[in-house]
Symmetry: C2
Subunit: 462 residues, 2 copies
C-alpha cells in the first residue's frame, strides 16, 4: 500500500518520487507557485505540496482544484523553505480525482460552529478537530484491547438484545417486529409478545455486566467493550442514548484487586494517548481545553488516593457552604462533591469505596456493617466519576435477600443466581463509559462530538 | 496478579510454592491420594493437583470438593509421574472457596448434548468445548484489531440505532419507547413517530458500511467491528438475528486493492489462530471437524485464485448435472456452487468478481458493460462465501440512476450521495460476518454455539 501522509512527513528529503493521496484542505496561489495542503486523515497537519506552475503539463487543473477535492500528487519530498513544516512535496504531477464545488460544499475554509458541524456529521471528520477526535478515539479503543489482552483477559461479546434489566432501572428501548398498526393482544387484553420476533419482550442492553459475570466464572478474567443504551430523556452535554462501555470482570478478585486494575487501566489509557497522539493532544490543549495534557500526565504519574464514602462525607460536610447541594451521610455524591474531593482534598485521583447500599445497585457485596456495600467510584480532576465498579455479592442468600428488599424477582435472575450456587467465588469488576473517557481526554464540551453519529432524544440522523 | 494455570503448566519443576485458583473439573480419589483437575479458562487442559491425604490438615475438605466447585491450591510444581501432563502440583494446602452441590449442578462430569448446553449458556463456557470456542473467538477478535491497526486503519464506531437501511432489504428491528398500549396516531391515522424517543422511526443497523464510507472519505482507511441485526425469520444453523461484523473501507482503493486486503486479512486471522490456539485447534480437529487445521494452514500458504462471475458460471454450467440448483448466467451462486468452485475447480480459495448487477446491492460500482458490478465474494473450501465486498460506485449520476432503478429514494441517502459530490474518490470495502468466521475455524455445526448468548427467532434467553 502507498505511504500515508503521516509517513511522508517523516521522510528525509531525497530525489525519490513518492505519491501523496488525499483531500485538499487549503490552496494558496501566487503568480508562479501554488501551495496545496493535502490531508488524508493520518495526522492533523497535512502535507504541503508546492507546485511550480511553469512545470505543470495541464495548466487548467489548478483552477479546478478547490478546498475539499481529492487529489493524487507525485514528486520528491524536499526540505521546506518556510512555515511550520520540516519537509514538503515539490510536485509537477497532480491528478484531480474528485471535484468539490465551491458554491455547494458545506465545509468551506472558514471556521464553522460545532453545532453546524454536528448537522453535517458525515463530513465533519474532514475538519482538524473531528479528525483529531477520531484518531484519539481510535487510539483509545485499541489501548483498551491491548491493556486487557496483555493481561490475559478474554474479550467477550455479551448480548445487545436482552430480556434482562441489569440495573433494574427500566429505562430501556423496546426491540420489536410487531406491526404497530395491529398489535396482537392476549385474551386478557395484554400485548401478546409471544407473537413478537423473540417470543417475549426484548430490550436493548443497558450493561453487559451480568452476562459478563457468567463468563468470568469460567474464564476468570474477561472484558466487554460494546454498545449499551439508555432511553433516558436527558438532553445534556454528558448523556447519549447509545454509547460504548468497557466492562472488565475478574473472578478470585476482591475490591482491592479491582481498584488496582482500574488504576492501572486508566493510567495505561492516558499514557498511550499522550504517547501516540501528541500532535492531536497539543491541538486539544491549545484550542479546546487548556492544560489537559498536564492533567493527564499528572494522573499517569500519581498513585491514586483512597477513602471510604463515610470518610469522604466527613470531609465534604466541613465545606458544605461551598456546595449547591449540601452533603449528609446517605446522600449520593454530585459532580461538585466529586470534583472537590479529587481537586481540593486529595489533589489527585481518588477512589471512594463502601457506599451506602441504598444508593448503589443490588449486586454489590454487602459489608459486615450491613449498611454499606463494596462499591467504588474512581474520581478524577476536572470531571469527577470516570469509573464505577464494585465487588459483587457472591453469597446466594445475601443476594436473594437484597433483591427481595428491592422488589426484584429472583426468578428473573435464575441464571445470575446460579453463579452463586455453583462454584461461587469473590469477583469484582467495573465500567468505563467510553465516550465519557474520550470527552475527558479531549476536553470536548459536548459528548455528542466524540462519537461519529450521536443518538439522543429526537436525534437519530444518518 | 497471580499466575494463570496456562502459565503454571509451563513452569519448570521447583520447590517454590505457587498458587492455583480455579474450578474443579474432575476429582479422582484413591486410598492415599486425591487428584483434582483445576481449570481457570486460560487453557483447555487443567492443572493436575495431587493431594497426599496424610499431609492434609483438614481431612473433611476433600469430601466437600466436587465437580464445579471453586478452589485455591498451594504447592510446588513438580514433574508429573504419569498421564498426559509434563508437570503437576503437589499440594497439601487446599481452600474450598465455593461449593457446588452434586445433586443440582447442571454440568455433571458426563458428556452433555450441545442442545442441552445451549439451554445453560450461562454455564457452558465451563466445558472444554465452549471454553475453547471462547478462547478462539477472543484470539480472533484481537487479531482483527491487530491486523487493521498495524496497517493504519482507524477503528470507527458506526451507529447501532439507525434511520437508514444500508441494504435496502427492510428486515430490520424497530427500536421504540412508544407505549404499545396507546400508540400515538397522526390525523391521517398513521403512527406518530414524532412522539417516539428519536422523533422518527428508528431501527437496529444491518450494516455500518454507509456510515463507514463517510469516515473513509476523511481518514482514508477505516474499519468497523460491531453488532449488526437481521429480523429474518431464519431458523438455520448459519443465521443469527444479532451478529458481529467486520467492515473495512478504503478510499483511493479499487477492486484490486480490496482483494489484496481481503486475502491478507483472512490469512492473518487463520495464521494467528493456528499459532496462538494450537491446543484448542487440535481439540476441534479431533472432536468437531477433522482436518480443519490443515484446511486453514493450506489457505494461509496458498495464493488465492481469481475469476469473474461470468467465468465461474461457464465452469459451473459444464457440471450442472451435479447441482441441486443448475446455474445459468444471472442466477445467484448457491453454497453448492461456491464450494465446487473453490474445492473442485480451483482447489484453493477463489475470489469471484463482477457479478450481474441484479443480484448485488445498489452501491456497487457499475462496470463499463453496464451489466455487471465490481462486487467480489471470497470463497473458501468447506464453506463457500466467507467475505463479500465491492468497489463502491463513486460517480454521483450513476449512483442516483441505480437507486432510481431500484426504487430507492435518493433523498433518503442525501448524506451518502454527498460523498460523491464533494471530493469523491474510488473506494472499496468488504464485510466479514464474525460468527461465520468463528464457526468456520472451529468447525462448530451451529452458529448459535460460537456466540455467548445467541439471538434468533423465539430466542432471547439470558
Amino acid at each position: 500500500m502507498k505511504e500515508r501522509i503521516s509517513a511522508l512527513l517523516k521522510r528525509t528529503p531525497s530525489t525519490e518520487i513518492v505519491t501523496a493521496e488525499g483531500w485538499v484542505r487549503t490552496k494558496r496561489d501566487s503568480k508562479n507557485v501554488c501551495f496545496l495542503e493535502v490531508n488524508d486523515g493520518s495526522c492533523l497537519k497535512g502535507l504541503q505540496v508546492v507546485i511550480d506552475k511553469d512545470t505543470l503539463a495541464d495548466q487548467n487543473i489548478l483552477s479546478a482544484i478547490t478546498t475539499g477535492c481529492s487529489v493524487i500528487c507525485k514528486g520528491p519530498i524536499v526540505e521546506s523553505a518556510g512555515g511550520d513544516q520540516a519537509v514538503e512535496m515539490a510536485s509537477s504531477d497532480i491528478t484531480l480525482v474528485g471535484e468539490c464545488p465551491v458554491d455547494t460544499y458545506p465545509l468551506q475554509k472558514k471556521r464553522h460552529t460545532i453545532e453546524y458541524l454536528r448537522e453535517i456529521s458525515h463530513l465533519r471528520a474532514r475538519t482538524n478537530m473531528f479528525g483529531a477526535v477520531a484518531r484519539v478515539r481510535n487510539t483509545l479503543s485499541y489501548a483498551v484491547h491491548q491493556f486487557f489482552q496483555e493481561r490475559g483477559f478474554a474479550y467477550v461479546n455479551t448480548p445487545i438484545i436482552s430480556a434482562s434489566d441489569a440495573e433494574g432501572a427500566g429505562e430501556q428501548f423496546l426491540v420489536t417486529t410487531l406491526d404497530l398498526h395491529n398489535i396482537p393482544k392476549t385474551e386478557e387484553g395484554k400485548i401478546d409478545y409471544s407473537k413478537d420476533f423473540f417470543g417475549r419482550e426484548a430490550f436493548l442492553t443497558v450493561s453487559g455486566q451480568l452476562e459478563g459475570e457468567t463468563y468470568a466464572m469460567a474464564l476468570k478474567n474477561i472484558y466487554t467493550f460494546g454498545p449499551t443504551f439508555r432511553a433516558e430523556n436527558s438532553n445534556t452535554k454528558r448523556h447519549l442514548a447509545e454509547f460504548w462501555m468497557v466492562e472488565p470482570e475478574m473472578a478470585f478478585c476482591e475490591l482491592d484487586g479491582n481498584m488496582e486494575v482500574a488504576e492501572s487501566f486508566l493510567k495505561y489509557l492516558f499514557k498511550t494517548v499522550l504517547e501516540k497522539c501528541p500532535e492531536d493532544m497539543a491541538f486539544f490543549s491549545k484550542f479546546v481545553e487548556a492544560g489537559m495534557e498536564q492533567t493527564l500526565q499528572h494522573i499517569v504519574e500519581t498513585p491514586f488516593a483512597h477513602m471510604t464514602y463515610t470518610e469522604a462525607v466527613k470531609e465534604l460536610e466541613r465545606h458544605n457552604e461551598l456546595f449547591e447541594f449540601p452533603v449528609a451521610w446517605g446522600s449520593d455524591l454530585q459532580s461538585e462533591h466529586e470534583k472537590f474531593l479529587t481537586e481540593v482534598v486529595c489533589k489527585r485521583p481518588v477512589i471512594v469505596t463502601d457506599y451506602p447500599k441504598e444508593i448503589k445497585a443490588f449486586y454489590m457485596r454487602l459489608n459486615a456493617d450491613e449498611k454499606t456495600v463494596r462499591g467504588m467510584d474512581v474520581l478524577v480532576p476536572r470531571l469527577g466519576e470516570i469509573i464505577g465498579g464494585s465487588e459483587r455479592e457472591a453469597n446466594l442468600d445475601t443476594l436473594i435477600a437484597r433483591m427481595q428488599q428491592l422488589k426484584l424477582d429472583p426468578k428473573d435472575y435464575w441464571w445470575y443466581l446460579d453463579l452463586r450456587r455453583f462454584g461461587s467465588v469473590p469477583h469484582a469488576g467495573f465500567g468505563l463509559g467510553f465516550e465519557r473517557a474520550v470527552q475527558y481526554i479531549t476536553g470536548m464540551g459536548n459528548i455528542r462530538d466524540v462519537i461519529p453519529y450521536p443518538r439522543a432524544p429526537k436525534l437519530a440522523d444518518f
